[in-house]
Structures are given as C-alpha cells and as structure tokens.
C-alpha cells in the first residue's frame, strides 16, 4: 500500500539544519499494523506526517497505492487524505466547541456524505468505541481515555484505508491506554491498515511489525508474530 524510497526531510532554522529523515525507505502492506519507535527527536512524527500527507518530503519517492504523491501539492494531498486516511493524535485534537457526536460527524460532512447516512454511521461508530451514551457531551466533559476513543471514532468513521496514530496512548494511564490499543488491534483485525508511533514497548506488542528509528534512519525491524518482549535502547 505504501512504498517509500530514499525519503529526505530537513528542517532549517536560522542557526541549525536538522535532518529529520535521512534517505529512509519503507514499505507497508495493506492490512499491516506497523509501530514506529525510537528516541525523542529521531523523526517519528515527521515520518508519520509525511505518510499522512500533512507534510511533504524534500526528496525521495512516496507511492500511496499506485500514485506517486511525493511531489503533490497541498490541494492534491488534501483530496487523497480526505478519502483514505484517518488520524489519531496524542493530544486528541477534538474541537472543544463541538459535541462528541458533532466531532465524529465532521469528516463525514467534509466527505459529502448524505445526512441520513451520517446519522447511521456516527451512531454505529460511537457504539463501536463504547462512547454512545456520551454523544451529547463536549470534549472537556470527558476523561482523557474517553476523548481518545472519540478521536479514534472520528478517525474511523469514514472507513479509511489507513489509520495513523501518533502516540495515541501518550496522555493516557495504562488502563485507558489499553482500551485504546485493543480498539486499534480490533480494527486491524477487521482489515484496516494502521501505522502508529509509540514510546511504549507494551503498546508496540499489539502491532504486527515494529521499526525503530534513530537520527532519521531505520535501525531495526522486528516482526511480532508472537507477543515478544522487545527491549528499547
């Protein structure tokens, strides 16, 4: 589904030049659950943002499905993103002024789904993540775990081919974190491709493959056929 070759991304500020991704190559197949690990600042988020078409690389090739998207402009990227990709963030990124229901409904509106279909989909999705009883609440009235479930529901409601999650459990305690991870692996079992950035080896165990980055390069790759303990650093 995703084929990345020799991807380069550098950030320039007045004083320093940081190479966030250095000739990175990676491919992800449909149905995989990939986790990305590595020390802080190694380029995980940068990679995820590029995969999610929120950002574009400086050099290298990126094939999404069969399209070469590395050189796409903002508008073209937006249209692929809208149709194919769902996001889950560490800080949830829900809109405070909108209710749980409205937050989840939002991507459907932007994808021009008919109102009657929207209702069915949102309700189903809220039930699936177990937050239906809170549909009328506002984000600030929910716990972190509940908010993240809403964020997951929002990411999934359009039935995206690919879900990207940047430290989805980073702001949650282990119990709430577990719930979210179970939700993600359940999704994966149903066929959604997932790429997740995490610092937690425990969370990484839920995935089918784990790659580790350092200084913008992949330094190791492990297939999690069984639930293995993996040491970090």
């Amino acid at each position: 589904m995703i084929t990345i070759k020799n991807l380069i991304k550098t950030y320039r500020t007045e004083e320093v030049e940081t190479t966030a991704l250095n000739q990175l190559s990676l491919s992800v197949n449909t149905g995989e659950f990939l986790s990305i690990m590595g020390p802080s600042g190694c380029g995980k988020s940068t990679l995820l943002n590029i995969i999610g078409l929120l950002d574009s690389p400086d050099d290298g090739s990126y094939q999404f499905d069969v399209e070469e998207v590395a050189s796409y402009n903002e508008k073209q990227r937006a249209s692929i993103r809208k149709a194919n990709i769902g996001f889950v963030f560490q800080n949830f990124n829900l809109i405070d002024e909108l209710s749980v229901y409205e937050n989840v409904e939002l991507p459907l509106i932007y994808n021009k789904v008919k109102p009657e279909d929207r209702k069915v989909k949102v309700t189903q999705m809220l039930e699936r993540v177990g937050i239906a009883h809170r549909a009328k609440h506002f984000p600030l009235q929910l716990s972190g775990g509940q908010q993240q479930r809403v964020a997951v529901a929002r990411a999934l409601v359009t039935n995206p081919k690919l879900v990207l999650a940047d430290e989805p459990t980073g702001n949650l305690d282990s119990k709430n974190g577990n719930e979210v991870m179970e939700l993600l692996s359940e999704l994966n079992a149903q066929g959604t491709t997932i790429i997740m950035v995490t610092h937690s080896a425990y969370d990484a165990k839920f995935s089918t493959r784990t790659i580790s980055l350092k200084d913008g390069e992949i330094v190791s790759e492990i297939k999690n056929e069984q639930k293995l303990d993996i040491l970090i650093q």
């Binding site: 988020s45 943002n49 993103r81 996001f87 963030f89 809109i95 932007y110």
Partner: protein, 804 residues
C-alpha cells in the same frame, strides 16, 4: 518592577503591533475629532464674553402671530422703553447689516465693507478697547466717527488718526477715536457712523437692532411684561379707539406684537429670531450634533480597545497566571495593566494634538474662522478626557484579566467565557450600527442636496452676471444709462434690475392687503423686462410692459402664494390691492395685472413666501433701493464682457467703490453651501468612523481566528475544503452584521426622517440607502474577515496539531 513591567509591555506590543496600532489610531482620531469640535464650540461660545455688559444687555426681538419673529425693532420702542421703564437704563439703535462705504482722505479712497450706523451710545453697550481718542469724544457730535485699528492704519499709516477730516458720501466727518474689538463680538465693524439725527418716535419701521441695558439684577420677565404693556397702551389702544374692534379681534387679525429679550451673552447660539448680528449666528444644533458624533468616535475607539484587550487577554493569561503564582496581588496586576493603557492613551493624545495642529488651518478655512489650538481651555479638557478615557478602558480589561484563576490558566485550561464573547459581539454590533448609521446618513444627505441643487427654482440663473451697485446716488438713472449703452454690446444679451437678487436672503417685507385681508409680504421692484429676463412664468394675465403707461403707476404682479392668501387665486386679475409703502392719503389702487408662478427667490431651504412685484417707478422714494444690475451674457468671451462692463462702470456709474460682481448661479449656490458643508463634515466623520470600525474588526478577526487556528488545523486534517474552513470563521461576524443592520434600519430611518423634516422642500425618504448600506456592511465584513480567514486556511498544519 517597573523595568520588568516595561519589558513585558514592550515585547507584548511588538508581538501585537496590530492591536497597538488599532488602539492608538482609534483613540487619536477620536481625541482629535473631539478637540476640534471643542475648539469650535469654544469659539462660538466666546462671542461677547469679553463684554462686561453681556449679562445686562438684551436685544429686543418682536414676535407676532401673523409675521413670526423679527430681529429688529422700532424707534418708538427704543424711546419709550427707556423713558417709561425704570429698569431700562439705556437703549441704543444700531443698523443690523454691514454696509460698504468709501472714505476719502487726502485725495485717496479707502474702501470698507464693515460700516455700521449707530446711535451715539454705541460704546456704552460695546465698550471696545480704545487705542486713541475717546468714546466721550465720539458722543459729542453726530459728525464724529470711530475707526478700527486696521482701517485707521490703512488710511493714516502710523500717524495719528484723531481729528482728521474724512469724506464719506460727500459729507465730512471727524475721526474721534480708534478702537480694537477685544474678542469675538456681535459687531466687529471697521467703521462706526452715527445716524445723522436722533430718531423720532415711530411705530412702523422695523429697521434697526435695538439693545436695552437693564439695571443689574432686574427681573427680565417683569421688564418684558412692562414692554409688552407699553406696546399695547401706546400703540395698539390708540388705534383701536372708536373703531369698535376689541384687542382680541385685533390680535387675531393683525397680531399684537410681543417682545423677546435675547441676552447678549448667549445670543450667538441661542436666539429665537433668525438673525444674530452681522457676525452671524452660531448653529447650536450642529455643534451639539458634532459633539455627539465626536463622542461616538471616542466611544467606538473605546469599544475597540476593550474588545481587543479582552480578546487578547487569554493570550496573556499565561503571563498573568505566572505573575499571580509569584505573588503579585490583584491590585498590582490591575495597576500594571492600567499603566499600559495610560501609556497608549498618552501616545494617542500626543498624536491627536499633532493631528489637530495639522488640520486646523484647513478647518479654519472651511468654517471661515481663525481658531488656534491654544484657544481657551480646550487643550486642558482634552488631556482630562484622554486620561479618564484611558483609565476607563484600562479598568475593564484589567479587572477581566486579573480575575483569571491562576491554576487553571497555568494548566492551559481557560475556556473562552461565553459571557465575554457575548459582550464582545454586542460591542461589535454597536460599531456596525454606528458605521451603518453614518453610511445611511451620508447617502440620504447626499440625495437631499442633489435634489436641491438640481431642483427647478422657477427662475433662470444661468449666464447671469450680477454687479453690485453701492451707495453712489441716483442709482436708477445710472442703471438706465448702463442699460441703454451696454445693451448694444453684442456679448450682452439683456440687462435688467430687480430690487432683490434671488438667493440674497433679506427680502424687504411690507404689508400687502386686499380689502380686509392683509399680511406681511415679500416685495420686489423690477424693470419691464425682468419677468422675461429671469424667465419667470406668468400663469394669469401678463407681465409689465412699456406699452401700458399705467404699468409704472398702478400695476402690480403677485405670486401664487400671495394670491392664495389674499383669497383671489382663481380670479386675481383686476383686483385692487394696497401695499404698506403707500401713505394713508395715497388713494391710487394697485391693480393686479398678472400672477406668476412661485419661484425660489430666497434660497430653497426657506418656504416660498407671498411676494409682489412693482415697477421701479411706482414709488419715487424706492428708486434708491437699486443695489445691483443684472446682465445676461454670452457664454464665450465672458472675461472680455466683464472688462467691457467694468470700463463703462468706472466712468459712468462708480469710480470709488471696487467693481464687484458675481454670477447668479454661484451666488445662489451659497444658499446651500451650509448643507454642503454639513455633508462634507458628515462624510469625513463617517469615513473616520468606518475606518476605525474596520480596523477594530480587522484586529478582532485576527485575534479570534488566531485563537481558532488549532481548530482550523483539525478541520483541515479531517478534509475540510477552504470554503468549509472559511465559512464557520466568518459566520459569526456575518450574523452580527445582520443583527446590527436589523436594529439599525428603523433607528436610522427615524433620525433621517427628522433631518429631512428640516427642509421645506425635501425628497421622499429614499429607500436605496437602506438596502445598499447593509449590503455594503456585509461586503466589508466579508472581505475583512474573509481575508484573515483565507490566510488561516494556509497555515502550517503540523505546528498547530503538535502537542504543546
């Protein structure tokens, strides 16, 4: 402490330079506007304030049911009020309008436009500063005159003027004193000439302004009733004797005159009569409106200020939170904040003073005055206004900011308070409302003035050259000569003369009666050709003609209004009328030979009064009243035509007075000059208000959109299109605009209806300003906010999605 405060203020200002710009520029414009209006007001209020007699001197106006209020009085009143009322110390009659005269001295002619004729007691009422000679000397002899310093220097240079003989109108006068007018004054004459003889007691001639000096502390109401009593006892009752008419019947029919006492100290701005001396009258209503408008301007900038600071307060919440945890008290926080605002207020004040200093020359030219920024105490007042305004607009957000709960703020957990947003929106709506009102105002005023300028006045004012005839003697003969000679000039199509040139205002009023019905009517003396010359429309009968010898003896032409009031509208021809100028023994009938269509002989902001026309020769005494000749000229070679007339003029008409002429359409345009000035002022103020409002809107939109950038980023990641992002951002602003417009329309309609009611001849309220204005507001709001919102769609997503 202060250093840290200043550092934070400085860095904050650098970050929020837009806020600072909006705050300061808004306040600057507001303060500058208020200062100018205050200076103007102050100047208008300063009239006669220098005069030590101002509290005790009253001008007498006369009011009657029939004829309204006259600003002038009779000699009988002057004489009897003084002799019969103990509280009246002294009275004086003074000619109300400036005249032009030429002074001859040593073979040299000096022209002045500001001559005033007066009774000798002038200086007892207007004690000008005497530089040379004395007012006592002036009193001694009716051939003594007084000169202003300017005129004296013009004639005598730096030599003494006193005792010199000058010739005016072929008479010799002695200069008895030189004076300077200490300040703005009812009279600011350059030359004072005394009436040649004391007045005889006469009840019929309302020609001069009458001033009475009352004993200090006199009861004005009582004096007034004594005066009214004298008029009834000495004027009305003797007339009624034996006639069988009661006082009430007389009052109904002719109107008993009652006096009004108008205090010299306040007459400039508060007068019931339509005229307040040759220095002109102040427009109190306009001053109030201008003051109100400039206060509105300040209000709007305050609203901007408060709006911006509360909106940006959440951005500063962190600073406040930290300061609070470090132990700063609420009071100290408030003081810090107010200090910041005071600094901005002070900067605005400086800019405002600078701005006013720059604008004043233009403003002075515009209103025809000479105001300096240091006049009176206005500058002190504006400092006070700036201080208290800053204090006020500092206090509101300061309290708002200092109320933040420190823990929540530090957790980043302050949510935008619903109440704050509501207040902010209400203030924004208020601004839109005011801006919208100004827009509608400008459009309605524009429509009315456009209507006035293009209205058919009922007479022809094109290509008509009006040349002033001064007091040169045998004016009518000179006119006849000029007509005879100049008519031959191929560039001059026609020559005529009428006593009053349209638009000049003071149409001489006199009684016009038919049988029992009589009233005060405008009068005009005209040449045979005048009706054709001015293209007046004859509705019934005919105009004057040389073919009828009776037309110079017993023919009269009246306008529609006069015919209606006389009750002869349907069949006016042949009716026999009388006019007030006829002596009692003068028995000739004046027969109506024609009725002309009403025309605007007196400017179009006044109602068309009844009016009659007579030929110049009808009364022998009235021939001196010719003070202008009119020439219809060809449109090409106008300059040459004028110099041809001037050449003739210098030789045959007048070699002393300056040759003074104007075109009738331009002269007439002066009658709506006042409204055009109102329009200009309104336009300038509206542009200011709209700019300030838009600046405020721009800054507020910037802020609110900044606060919502994260939301924008989220929506964008979820696939929202640019339109889908922009609309919710603009939405609330558009809603406010619509609501403000809905409130605005009826208010504006009501107020503008009121304004239009000031006009006798007015347009129907135009509807289009009420459609255009909301649309314009929406477009402006849409473009300003849309511009910011569009920018918001271009943000760097990752920056705002990142956990912070």
């Amino acid at each position: 402490m202060l250093k840290i405060w200043f550092k934070i203020f400085y860095r904050n200002s650098k970050k929020n330079w837009l806020n600072l710009l909006v705050n300061i520029s808004g306040l600057t414009l507001g303060l500058a506007g208020l200062l100018i209006v205050m200076l103007y007001f102050n100047d208008e209020n300063s009239y006669n304030q220098w005069n030590p007699n101002k509290d005790d001197v009253y001008r007498i106006a006369n009011e009657s049911k029939r004829n309204g209020i006259y600003f002038s009085s009779t000699s009988a009143e002057a004489i009897l009020f003084k002799s019969d009322i103990p509280e009246v110390e002294e009275t004086v009659l003074i000619s109300p309008f400036y005249r032009s005269r030429v002074l001859k001295y040593n073979g040299q002619n000096t022209f002045t436009e500001k001559t005033t004729f007066t009774e000798p007691e002038f200086f007892n009422f207007f004690p000008f500063e005497i530089l040379e000679g004395s007012s006592g000397k002036f009193l001694e002899n009716r051939k003594h005159i007084a000169l202003s310093k300017t005129l004296s220097e013009e004639i005598f240079g730096d030599k003494s003027a006193i005792g010199n003989l000058v010739t005016i109108d072929e008479e010799d006068y002695t200069v008895s004193c030189v004076y300077e007018v200490p300040g703005n004054s009812h009279y600011e004459s350059d030359l004072l000439i005394q009436f040649s003889e004391p007045f005889e007691l006469h009840w019929g001639n309302f020609q001069n302004e009458l001033f009475c000096k009352l004993t200090p502390g006199a009861d004005v109401a009582e004096v007034k009733s004594k005066m009214n009593n004298i008029i009834i006892e000495k004027n009305i009752k003797p007339k009624l004797e034996g006639s069988g008419i009661t006082l009430e019947e007389f009052d109904d029919k002719y109107g008993v005159i009652k006096v009004l006492l108008e205090n010299l100290g306040t007459i400039r701005l508060h007068h019931k009569a339509d005229y307040a001396g040759p220095s002109g009258k102040g427009n109190y209503q306009l001053l109030l409106v201008l003051t109100g408008l400039s206060l509105l301007l300040i209000l709007i900038s305050c609203v901007n200020f408060i709006n911006l600071s509360t909106a940006s307060a959440s951005q500063r919440a962190k600073e406040v939170g930290v300061k609070k945890t470090l132990g700063l008290s609420k009071k100290e926080l408030t003081i810090h904040y107010i200090l910041e605002v005071l600094v901005q207020g002070f900067m605005a004040l400086l800019f405002a003073l600078l701005l006013v200093e720059l604008i004043l020359p233009y403003f002075n030219e515009f209103i025809g005055k000479d105001i300096s920024i240091f006049n009176g105490t206005s500058i002190l007042k504006i400092v006070g206004v700036a201080f208290f305004t800053s204090l006020f607009i500092g206090l509101v957000p300061a309290i708002y900011v200092s109320k933040f709960k420190s823990i929540e703020v530090l957790k980043g957990n302050y949510s935008r308070s619903k109440k704050g947003v509501l207040v902010r929106n209400a203030m924004l709506a208020l601004q839109f409302l005011i801006s919208g009102f100004f827009l509608i105002g400008v459009l309605v005023i524009y429509s009315q003035i456009h209507f006035m300028i293009n209205k058919d006045l009922g007479f022809d004012k094109d290509q008509t050259l009006v040349v002033d005839v001064f007091n040169v003697g045998s004016e009518y003969q000179k006119y006849e000569l000029a007509k005879q000679v100049l008519s031959k000039n191929s560039n001059i199509l026609d020559v005529s003369a009428s006593m009053f040139v349209p638009g000049e205002g003071n149409v001489n009023g006199t009684n016009l009666s038919y049988g029992d019905v009589g009233f005060n009517s405008g009068s005009n003396l005209v040449d045979f050709n005048y009706i054709d010359f001015a293209k007046l429309k004859v509705l019934k009968g005919r105009g004057f003609s040389e073919a009828f010898s009776s037309d110079t003896i017993s023919s009269i032409v009246i306008n529609e209004t006069a015919a209606k009031r006389l009750g002869i509208y349907d069949d006016p021809i042949g009716k026999k009328l009388r006019v007030g100028w006829m002596r009692d023994e003068d028995n000739r009938p004046l027969e109506v030979i024609g009725m002309i269509q009403d025309y605007h002989f007196d400017g179009f902001d006044t109602k068309i009064d009844p009016m009659f026309l007579l030929h110049w020769n009808t009364f022998s005494f009235s021939k001196d009243w010719l003070h202008a000749m009119q020439f219809k000229v060809k449109s090409d070679d106008v300059a040459q035509t004028i110099s041809a007339i001037e050449d003739f003029w210098k030789v045959h008409v007048d070699s002393e007075y300056p040759f003074s002429y104007g075109f009738l359409d331009k002269k007439f345009a002066e009658t709506y000059d006042k409204y055009q000035k109102q329009q200009t002022m309104f336009l300038i103020l509206s542009i200011m208000v709209i700019i300030i409002s838009l600046l405020g809107l721009f800054a507020l939109a910037t802020l609110t959109i900044q606060q919502r950038l994260k939301e924008v980023a989220i929506r964008k990641t979820l696939g929202a299109s640019a339109r889908e992002i922009i609309l919710p951002l603009i939405n609330s602003f558009l809603k406010i605009t619509v609501i403000a417009s809905l409130i605005l329309l009826p208010i504006a309609y009501f107020l503008m209806q009121n304004w239009l009611d000031n006009f006798v001849y007015r347009i129907d309220m135009p509807i289009w300003p009420y459609i255009v204005t909301p649309i314009l507001l929406l477009v402006l709001v849409f473009s300003v906010v849309g511009f910011k919102a569009y920018h918001a769609t271009k943000i760097d997503l990752i920056k705002y999605l990142k956990f912070e």
